[in-house]
Amino acid sequence: MNGTTIQAPTIEYALLSPMLLVFGAAIIGVLVEAFAPRYLRKSIHVPLTLLALVGAFVTTILTALNGLPTVAAAMGAVAVDGPSLFIWGVILILAFICTLLINDDDQFVAQAAAVPGSVDEEEAVRHGYAQTEVYPLMLFSVGGMLLFAASNDLLVMFVALEVMSLPLYLLCGLARRRRLLSQEASVKYFLLGAFSSAFFLYGMALVYGYAGSVDLKTISTAISSVSGQEPLLLIGTAMLGVGLLFKIGAAPFQAWKPDVYQGAPTAVTALMASTVLVAAFGAVLRVFWVALGGYEWNWQPLMWGVAILTMIVGAILAITQTDIKRMLAYSSIAHGGFLLTGVIAIGTIKQDQQALSAILFYLAAYGFTTVGAFAVVTMVRDAGGEAGHLSRWAGLGKRSPVLAGIFAFFLLAFAGIPLTSGFFAKYAVFAAAISGGALPLVIVGAVSSAIAAFFYVRVIVLMFFSEPAADGPTIAAPTVGTSAVVALAAAATVVLGVFPQPVLDLADQAASALFIR
């Protein structure tokens, strides 16, 4: 690099086309907001969003079929490899389903800028306004997720992190009912998100100081060659870890999750609980396996501690929750802990492949189930909107046996009962963790699964074996979209539980070449 001419960077547009499609559609969405008349916006946004997601999914498949590149794209900034493509596929399908959920719900505020309870708000509601920016915001966020999971460069990763997060902060504040709670969630998420981003950024700076680069490949080679700057790398690793662990909601950085999940519109919660977790694990794997893979002896003990704490905190705190969304949030924390046991299972190439494949399968399985569960939550309503308090769910099985049955099925999948997708997911990561030598971790995992089973089953007992309350919630007549979401999620949970082999094979295939650098 001693030439004086500046070479234009080469960009492999074909490889990046899924992301480009999503971002392109998001920008068109913004233009629609600016120029299209209000009454037309939603009918443009919905097809546009769905089309963009389908298009991105198709190009992802085509890329996978064309054979994978062996070097990172865009001058080494974005790694389009097996794991990326699998994660992209999962994110895009989940985002598609979430779009159906967002579309079919009147759960978004009429005018976000209006003060809750004000005359302006009444006005907006009366005119039937809707905050249709939801769709481009969501697309931006999804684009950020795609990049986040595939970035091969800490700087790109940081940008992706922000692209993913900023729209989400906004989306969280757009709930139509209980607006104060929603806005509070939004502000909390924003403040804490910014806080954790600062850690990430600082960690990046320290690692740069150690390795002289933000490129993951260069960092990994520096670890085996540079000596004497150990503290820089150690603190940098810790700080990067804090930023990423915050995003997956690992303890002790989990505090935001229940508050945000509860306050956000449920469709957005579904999006966060599924796709963000998938993307964040993609990024965690890239940082810790690709960049810091040769440094595992130093970060593994820490991850052990975090994983154990996360599983236990998630499972134990879920027990005393009285709000269904908060309970699901804690459940999501615990699942993050189970996934971390797979991250720790790094070792030989064979172990890496097994662990990676297990994590990928887990992410897909958990994503579908969690979207389905939140979709059911949107349907159980009383006068004040969604009936969040668990006591209101008593006897739901008598009033609406099919819906309650499906929800019970999702809960069993969360608990990891055989013949549901959750069983294989857990089985696969725990098996990988055992072969990676983390047996004590698996024991903790099994114990917290048992604790978690208690609160899942408690909800089932509540729904089917309690007398319904006299003024109990009604089941909103399901719209086509919401029913489709529930049906798709239930189908995925059954199929991945009964015939998991095709998806397991796909995950194996995606994991076979591990990450490119």
Binding site: S196, F246, P252, A255, N298, V306, I316, I319
Partner: protein, 633 residues
């Protein structure tokens, strides 16, 4: 011995859809149970149609099997893979399983049709057919499965169906108790089977027949003997062999078609199937084989003795069922020389015993559900079809020359005689007893003086009941000769169970055969003098010590009560005490601890974003500190 041929994967043709055999009746059961009263009007037809369709699939599979050369007649149908190599589910269509499938669906269809008439006055007829369909599906899964786990699912399924059907008239306390008893006694056997499956899994790392049988010779003799004995325990439970025989007599509380289908023709023979199917294990465990033969002989005598003293026509037949299955067990324990006879006798028994039971049902139908033979007598003129078909079944079971039972039972006796003289002569003695108690039954029911209750107006049953009787009696006449002469059935079964080194030749005048005939004749004549020519008192006389012994089911219940039930109750009481004080204390304490922790931890979640930020800062400090600590170690 010529060993069985390998299993060939198969996915086309009728065999490719042979799972329909199981799915159709299962679907029938699901529809009938879930649809509620709406299907009351036509539900029984659906039930019959499903079993008939299943029968058609079975026949088509059978035809396809026959079309193959002999060394390819074992077809594996892969259905489902759970975790590769761990729990593969598939069907095995071979001569052994298809013989059972034909028996189950064939006799099952006839009994379904018969039940339309028999149950016509019952308000719950639809539910009855649902359970019958459930039974057929489970039984087919049991015999068609290609591994022990699926076999066990079918095994439990038939147990459930049997429980539901014995207690079908649950308003009768005796029926409810009998159902419970059958279930509990079967549990004992089921545990044996379960532990056997566990042992097979730990020894061979698989439960698939195709994988484990070829390895049987490599396991230690001790393991194989243990597996054999545990399988035998399972078989004893299901097939009502000593010492788990006590439930079968009480099981007669169920509607008569149930007794015919489940507790005579099919389910109770599952134990014999299990032993023949697991032949590879038994052949390397001679001790287990010896125990099988001893259990068989003991039961065949015990059943015959019990059958001789019962006045209840169905209980008499139940004793006889025990006894006949004892013969099959005896043959199954002998090894490859006996397998074909065991299964052949099982099939002919399926026909003539179903024939006898349905005949008994027809008699009861005409006699206001009276079961006491002391209140029958002289029924021959009023129900001729029932009587004639019953007598054909009777002649078949006692081994009247040239009828079904003659060939198959004689085959067993001859083989046993060659194997072990003592066992052989005891089997001959059993045949003599059979001659006595079956003749007693026929004389008390159809001949002699009328001892009817005052309100009894016996009449012949409708055609829907008599036609199945006629069809079954035709099987009772000809099937035995067809199967045994020229070793036809033995050669047919060979791909599944192998052939003995030398094929047996059927002698019409062998010593054992003649001795059997003579003893049967003595038994029949003795019965004629006591129950045909002499008057039968309407109230049973006290009888000798031996009679009481037999009437009380050889004190089986008393034995169970003292040996098992009382200590069992004490054990339960102790377990409950321990559970309440020890386990619950621990569990509740643990739960309280976790709940308390949860409640306390929850308070950290204050809702203030500043404290969350603080916790993040604190966490970050810990993370950095920990990494520095580890890195500098």
């Amino acid at each position: 011995m010529q060993s069985p041929v390998e299993i060939i994967p198969h996915s086309s043709g009728v065999v490719g859809v042979s799972w329909l055999m199981i799915v159709l009746p299962l679907l029938g059961a699901a529809i009938l149970l879930l649809s509620g009263r709406r299907t009351d009007r036509w539900g029984h037809f659906l039930g019959v149609a499903m079993v008939l369709a299943s029968f058609v699939v079975a026949v088509a599979s059978f035809v396809e099997l026959l079309g193959l050369p002999e060394d390819q007649r074992r077809m594996g149908v892969a259905l489902y893979q759970f975790i590769p190599g761990m729990a593969d589910m598939g069907l095995l269509i071979d001569p052994l399983s298809i013989s059972f499938a034909l028996l189950i669906t064939g006799v099952g269809s006839l009994i379904h049709i018969y039940s339309i008439g028999y149950m016509s006055h019952d308000p719950d007829r639809r539910r009855f057919f649902a359970y019958l369909n459930l039974f057929v599906a489970a039984m087919l899964l049991l015999v068609l499965a290609d591994n022990y786990v699926a076999l066990f699912i079918g095994w439990e399924g038939v147990g459930l169906a049997s429980y539901l059907l014995i207690g079908f008239w649950q308003h009768k306390p005796s029926a409810a108790a009998a159902a419970k008893k059958a279930f509990i006694v079967n549990r004992v056997g089921d545990f044996g089977l379960l532990i056997a499956i566990f042992t097979i899994w730990t020894t061979f790392g698989s439960v698939a027949f195709a994988k484990v049988f070829p390895l049987a010779g490599e396991a230690s003799n001790g393991t194989m003997t243990a597996v054999g004995l545990l399988l035998l325990l399972g078989a004893c439970g299901k097939s009502a062999q000593l010492p788990l025989q006590s439930w079968l007599l009480d099981a007669m509380e169920g509607p008569t078609p149930v007794s015919a289908l489940i507790h005579a023709a099919t389910m109770v023979t599952a134990g014999v199937y299990l032993i023949v199917r697991s032949g590879a294990f038994f052949e390397v465990a001679p001790t287990a084989q010896l125990v099988v033969t001893i259990v068989g002989v003991a039961t065949l005598l015990a059943g015959a003795i019990i059958g001789s003293a019962k006045d209840d026509i169905k209980k008499g037949l139940a004793g006889s069922t025990m006894s006949q299955i004892g013969y099959m067990m005896l043959a199954a324990g002998i090894g490859p020389a006996g397998y074909a006879f065991a299964i052949a006798h099982l099939i002919t028994h399926g026909f003539f015993k179903a024939n006898l039971f349905l005949g008994a049902g027809s008699v009861m139908h005409g006699m206001n559900d009276e079961v006491d033979m002391r209140r029958y007598g002289g029924l021959f003129p009023v129900m001729r079809i029932t009587a004639i078909t019953f007598i054909i079944g009777y002649l078949a079971i006692i081994g009247f020359p040239l009828l079904s039972g003659y060939f198959t039972k004689d085959g067993i006796i001859e083989t046993a005689m060659e194997h072990n003289q003592i066992l052989g002569w005891l089997a001959v003695l059993g045949a003599g007893l059979t001659g006595f108690y079956m003749s007693r039954m026929v004389f008390m029911t159809f001949f002699g003086k009328k001892r009817w209750a005052d309100d009894a107006h016996p009449h012949e049953s409708p055609a829907v009941m008599t036609v199945p009787l006629i069809l079954l009696s035709i099987g009772s006449i000809f099937l035995g000769a067809f199967l045994i002469l020229g070793n036809r059935f033995m050669k047919f079964l060979a791909p599944a169970v192998g052939l003995p080194e030398e094929l047996p030749v059927f002698h019409f005048g062998s010593t054992a055969g003649l001795a059997t005939l003579a003893l049967v004749a003595v038994g029949a004549v003795f019965a004629w003098f006591r129950y045909g020519a002499a008057d039968v008192p309407e109230v049973a006389p006290r009888g000798s010590f031996l009679t009481t012994f037999a009437r009380r089911d050889l004190y089986g219940d008393a034995l169970n009560e003292t040996l098992l039930m009382r200590p069992g109750q004490w054990l339960t009481r102790f377990a409950v005490f321990f559970d309440n004080r020890g386990v619950d204390g621990l569990v509740n304490g643990l739960a309280a601890t976790i709940g308390g922790t949860s409640g306390r931890l929850r308070r950290i979640q204050t809702g203030y974003v500043r404290s969350y930020a603080l916790s993040i800062l604190f966490g970050a400090a810990v993370v950095v500190g920990a990494l520095l600590y580890v890195g500098n170690m």
